[in-house]
Symmetry: none
Subunit: 308 residues, 2 copies
DNA sequence: ATGCTCACGTGGTCAA
DNA sequence: TTGACCACGTGAGCAT
């Protein structure tokens, strides 16, 4: 292998060799590159067609393959170079061996670098195609990847606008007008007359009649309303691990049968909104009883979270 | 400037001049490059800030401008090159002129190409930053541009889900009849490509590769989609006592952290729609794994309900 | 021919 | 050191 001869015929340019290599490897052996690589890329393409339909993010096998192919082609090219220069070099062999190992390692790193970079590009394109797939056609006329994310911008704006509109319409249906402007904490606007509230400025509820609540502090915002044997519960609290599990378990043991449940998490605040059926053998039947029981339950859950 | 001397000390390689030039120009003479080009790029930047702020998808004006600027800067460079060639070459003058013109033009095109490409990259980054700016913080922890569009995928899904929910709620409020194009069973329209389905007419998925699913029958309609470590789960099943409790418990023990959960009950059919975060120590990471685990979990829950 | 887009290989840089 | 990310310049392909 005359590889080393080429590399060290001039010690001056430590880097330019790499460039010459890439030059010749990139230009003269073009068909070589497109042979060794095109197989790979077409395989990838096929793979993506099979997997991509179902969105499986398996990136590792292809990258390994790419590395192998890259090594194969590169060594071949370098051999070609070596023959031409072998006649001109007269260096001792020791240095050649040491430096050869060095070069090998550098080549190795280089190939992994190439593979990694290729992977990165591929993942990006996968994401782009996914993003494109879940947008309506009109937002992405040009398949251009800049246009895709441009269309995503518009689409997100549109969706947000849509959500805003719908929630506004829903809000205006409930006639909860006006008081949403100064709500600093999330979900605060969901509570009209909470039995328990963590907010200090407990306005709009001047004399809360839930005297039972005063014996223990509020662990969360809790609002309970009831019609016949159906109750609507709204709970806003800090999130904690397994909170939902314990809450559901507690309600279950309280003989409150969950019909609808909606939990929404924003940052570390979570809002539970549920409608439950008060079973016949349930011990707590009034709104205040339920609210108190909920407050105790959430207090226990919080304590649990503290300990763990 | 010793740059050109290096470039033309060998006439052998017709292309390598370009490469060596770009090498030295790109690496060693960093400040040089940033002298001649930076005027241009900064002008472009200003211009794009004016246009880009308004979201005008006009790629042509900027490109034209880039071309002009590229001409100016490139001619400068080429002049420098020409001087260097005069001293070392001994060719007749006619050819020199022709080739010089040729070289000039090629250099010209090259510079415009560079400028265009640079513009393209810049525009892409602008789009990315815009897209990032209008997403909540939690969707884009890592400022990575792959993560940005990954987060955008999640965000779009979440928004779409939200819209679907709101419109569905509005619809169901106005009319409770199941006239949605012949869907006999409720919630059937929520499933696009379920991994498990209780419906016999499993059309539109001719050869689903999830062979693991066939080993056991579907206990419910289950659809899992995933992006990064966020998964969206849709489950439709028959209602049974404490089903939700067991489901939440099961997900908890599977290290699937529930971010959003929505359960809706109609008659004896219940639809769970939840978005979960796949924790780092989770054993099931692929969509099929999760779907299979869900199917098993629901099967166990159903068996439990049978016995009690 | 020209413009535009993309994939590629590469060097620089920042953090673990 | 290593790995991840990014910007860069460059050649190819595909449209106008």
């Amino acid at each position: 292998m005359g590889l080393e001869a080429v590399v060290f015929q001039q010690d001056l340019f430590n880097y330019s060799n790499r460039y010459l290599y890439s030059l010749l490897g990139g230009n003269s052996s073009y068909e070589d590159k497109h042979f060794s690589h095109h197989n790979q890329t077409s395989d990838e393409a096929n793979n993506d067609f099979v997997n991509g339909g179902y969105w499986v993010s398996s990136s590792s096998p292809t990258s390994v393959e790419a590395t192998n192919n890259g090594n194969g082609s590169s060594s071949c090219v370098v051999d070609g170079l070596a023959v031409a220069v072998e006649t001109t070099s007269t260096r001792p062999k020791r240095r050649r061996l040491r430096t050869r190992k060095n070069k090998e390692e550098i080549e190795n790193q280089r190939m992994t670098h190439i593979a990694v970079e290729r992977n990165r590009r591929r993942q990006m394109n996968e994401y782009l195609s996914v993003l494109r797939s879940l947008m309506p056609e009109s937002y992405v006329q040009r398949g251009d990847q800049a246009s895709i994310i441009g269309g995503a911008i518009n689409f997100v704006k549109e969706l947000e606008h849509c959500v805003q509109l719908l929630t506004a319409k829903k809000e205006v249906k409930e006639r909860s007008d006006g008081s949403t402007s100064g709500c600093s904490s999330p979900f605060a606007e969901f509570f009209m007359f909470p039995q328990y509230s963590t907010r200090g400025d407990n306005n709009s509820i001047p004399v809360n009649e839930s005297m039972a609540a005063e014996t223990q502090p509020a662990t969360a915002d809790i609002e309970v309303t009831m019609v016949e044997n159906h109750a609507n519960l709204k709970i806003r609290s800090k999130n904690s691990p397994a909170q939902l599990l314990k809450l559901v378990s507690g309600l279950n043991s309280m003989r409150l049968n969950i019909l609808h449940l909606n939990v929404t998490t924003v940052d570390h605040t979570v809002l539970y909104s549920l409608s439950v059926q008060v079973e016949d053998d349930c011990k707590v039947t009034s709104v205040d009883d339920i609210a108190t029981a909920l407050n105790q339950l959430l207090g226990r859950i919080q304590e649990d979270a503290m300990l763990n």
